[in-house]
């Protein structure tokens, strides 16, 4: 299978590159303006959104501005570049660098010498100024396009905590990070991925905290990617993760800048992708997927209680339907008598075995959930009404399913929504189905086998080299302070060892507030 793919790739590689019509990276800008224009017009054939504006600098030297309509700030271009250059009073100076120094009042500019850079600038929204008899062109940082405003993240709501979320534009996202971490140690390295999309990807980390080998490894993995387009960070996630066949997400994605910064401060690397509000955080652990940013903003007692509740419900969302199926199919003696009697009476009219009943309900629930996500908001209410009626009462009254099964499915549904990171919830929801089959065929023994297999798998996988079950396996007693519980901030002195080892202490010792420590005005 792989062999065929490789063969196909070899045969088509050249063709693919031809389709992309890219000039060789070494194509220098020609001295003749006309020649350059001809090449560019050839490349941008049938591209009606490209604007060519020829004019004379100081009334004599031919020049050409190229930009893409809608991507550049034309007002600023007209005022700062065109009007000042076309103004006759200016000397005959046409050297690009000197022009910028003397006449063009644009703060962000770049001198480019190759046609490839030229195209890159134009497609990024930077107008390019080509001057006759010059082998260097100027690119102005006058990108401007319609952006979505910064809004509250939809998928990760909090009661307490910042309400800003990342947006689709990369420079807004980097600015959000920079606003939270002002130190110059926050590094952002730019890469471009995607043959056609040329998506900007930024690798952000804090120098001095991050393990340099982690950055090197992630850079290598990103460089390995050769794909025609990256439309969302999910492409990159799937192309750089450690275990592609595992159902568990090994890279955390979030649209919250505070989550990104919290992870940067713990020595992790953040990957921002242009065009999506979802950024990637690597490495991650299972426990990180079960934590919410709000855990760190609430008081530690509340956070600890909520975390424990969340862990309980995570296990429930994984096991509850299968436990119910196993108990009701094989282990009747384990149910308290009065409960068994109630269940027996409600199951009396149900025609299906418990396993089939559970599958029907769980699949219906998943379908309803998916329909609710996909539908326009106006129809959403209708779905929930139909869902409540179908899953809830009608199914029981029609004798299709028993009432306890509805309760089990409902609790499982709620439990799966308690997992703060949606992708982790999906993984656990998926694993529920094989567990149900195991429970329906082998009973509690099957459930135990399933649990063992899952735990073994979780112990095996790593996220960019960090064991997925850290700090439980390998056991790191010191890090349990931020895993099982959330210790108060004055106890969270050290960073996680596997990612923040090079800079272990994040705060001074002994920060516990105490009256004897003074601070009062007297």
């Amino acid at each position: 299978m792989n062999r065929n793919a490789r063969k196909w790739w070899r045969m088509n590689k050249q063709k693919l590159q031809q389709q992309q019509q890219m000039p060789e990276s070494s194509t220098q800008i020609a001295k003749e303006l006309a020649a350059n224009e001809a090449v560019l017009r050839e490349l941008y054939t049938n591209c009606t959104d490209v604007v060519y504006r020829s004019f004379l600098i100081g009334g004599s030297t031919k020049a050409l501005v190229i930009y893409i309509d809608g991507l550049s700030n034309t007002e600023e271009l007209d005022r700062s570049v065109l009007s000042s250059l076309m103004n006759g009073k200016i000397s005959k100076e046409t050297h690009a660098r000197k022009l910028v120094e003397k006449t063009i009042s644009v703060s962000k500019w770049r001198e480019i010498t190759t046609l490839e850079e030229c195209i890159e600038s134009i497609s990024n929204g930077c107008p390019v100024l080509l001057i006759d008899q010059q082998e260097a062109a100027l690119s102005f940082g006058l990108e401007k396009w319609e952006k979505r405003a910064i809004e509250e993240p939809v998928a990760e709501g909090v009661v307490r905590g910042p309400r800003e979320g990342f947006t689709e534009s990369l420079n807004v996202n980097t600015s959000l990070l920079r606003r939270l971490i002002k130190s110059p140690a926050l590094k952002m390295e730019l890469m471009q991925i995607g043959g056609y999309t040329k998506t900007k990807v930024i690798l952000a980390y804090i120098d001095g905290i991050v393990d340099p080998t982690l950055v090197t490894e992630l850079k290598a993995r990103l460089n390995r990617i050769d794909i025609d387009g990256v439309l969302e960070s999910g492409y990159i996630e799937e192309l750089i993760e450690d275990h592609p066949s595992s159902p568990f997400p090994q890279i955390l994605s979030t649209e919250r800048p505070d989550v990104a910064c919290g992870n940067l401060l713990e020595g992790r690397v953040v990957i921002l992708v242009d065009g999506t509000p979802f950024i990637l955080i690597a490495p991650t652990t299972l426990i990180a997927l079960l934590q919410s940013s709000e855990d760190y903003y609430q008081r530690s007692f509340a956070s600890t209680a909520i975390r424990l509740l969340r862990y309980v419900f995570t296990v429930m969302s994984f096991l509850l339907p299968s436990l119910y199926v196993a108990l009701i199919t094989f282990h009747h003696e384990m149910v308290p008598t009065s409960l068994l009697i109630s269940m027996a009476s409600s199951r009396e009219a149900v025609p299906f075995p418990a396993l089939v009943e559970a599958l029907i309900m769980e699949i219906t629930f998943e379908a309803l959930r998916e329909a609710g996500v996909r539908l326009p908001k106006q129809v959403g209410a209708a779905v929930s009404i139909v869902g409540a009626l179908v899953i809830g009462q009608a199914a029981v009254q029609a004798g299709l399913v028993s009432a306890p099964m509805v309760i089990v499915v409902a609790i499982t549904g709620i439990a799966s929504f308690m997992i703060p990171h949606y992708i982790a919830g999906i993984a656990i929801r998926l694993l529920r189905f094989p567990m149900m089959f195991l429970a329906g065929t082998l009973g509690l023994l099957g459930i135990m086998l399933g649990i063992i297999a899952t735990v073994v798998h979780l112990c095996t996988i790593r996220s960019v080299g960090v064991p997925y079950l850290t700090p439980f396996a390998p056991m790191k007693g010191k890090e349990l302070k931020d895993a099982l519980v959330r210790a108060p901030w004055w106890m969270l002195n050290t960073r996680p060892r596997l990612t923040g080892e090079s800079n272990m202490y994040r705060q001074a010792q002994g920060l516990k507030p105490d009256p004897s420590k003074g601070g009062d005005t007297s």
């Binding site: 199919t329 009747h332 003696e333 008598t337 027996a344 009476s345 089959f437």
Partner: protein
Amino acid sequence: MKAKYMVLVFCSLLLGGCWDRTEINDLAIVTAAAIDNEEEQKIRLSIQVFIPRELTSGQGGTGNGGGELTTVYSGTGLNISDAMSKVQAKLSRKIFWGHCKVYLFGEEAAKQGMAEHIDFLVRHPGPRNRAYLYVTRGKAKEGLAIKTVLERSTAEALREFASLHIGMAVTLIDYRNMLKSESEAVAVPMIENGSKLQTPAQIQTKSILIGTAVFKKDKMIGHISPKVTRGLMWLRNEVTEAAITIQPPHVKGIVSVMPSRSRVTLDPVIKNGKWSLLVKVDTEGDVVENGTLLNLMNPDLLSIVQKAVRDDIQARITYSLGTLQKGLKVDVANFAGAFHRKYPKEWEQNKDQWEKIYPEVDVRSQINVKIRRPGLISAPAGVPQEDVIKE
């Protein structure tokens, strides 16, 4: 390749299918079982089976008031398993023992020996060791027909009785432990003949528990009254909440004391070949009713009541020992165990003569009663203050 194996593994899992699954709707849930002796060495097994259809769910949760929630099936056979297969032939669903909480034995069956029946209940993987045992007067099958007003079935009523600890509560495992103890004597609570507990009037006036059946080895040898049972429960350290009502000497009126914490220890002594035993009782209690004029806040007056309670407990113990030790000559309080623990060597030499020694054991008691609280009020409430005796 890996994927191929995964598919194979998954398919083989499904091949197993659910062949050995048992849906709840395929089970006859036994809530109680009764065992009687019949003619020609046969036994009759009767099981009380729950009818799921009668418990309509969704409408208030409880039964629809119409039919009975349980029904009784019975069959005869040479032993329980034989009888069970006869019963199974009458039932469309598989007999499920996992929730059988009560076993009733007819008086006749108990007298002829329970060894075989107990063996089935312990050996078969279905029945539970924690189920309660009862001996019924007359036929055990009729015990299953006892009408209950509050509970869903007889089984539930009897189980609740056991957890109230009004009489003895003996589970299958307790029975085995008692049988294996040094005294080889067993006590099992006894209930009234079911035919006498049918109409609401009968249920409301008659008590179900009528004392205790006493076994030597596996055969029932006698029946003791509830009063003797109370004394036995003191000796066995099983006393829970039940008021002690006494009349203090030289005082008009009666006082009730509710023991809240009791500890009974048996302290055996062998001296010069004479076996004696000291019953030490430490009990604390609260006054729950005071019909006298005594103000029990006064320690002197309180000590009168304490002494009266002490005498009462002593009388109870002596009374029941009179029946158990001198009359039935059965050591259900397991004095033998106490001697064995303290004098292992002497026990080894004399254990064959225990039946002769036991009636001769000199039992004395040392009872310590402390009344901790006079209840919510101090002075007697129902009389004018000037009539209260304060000194």
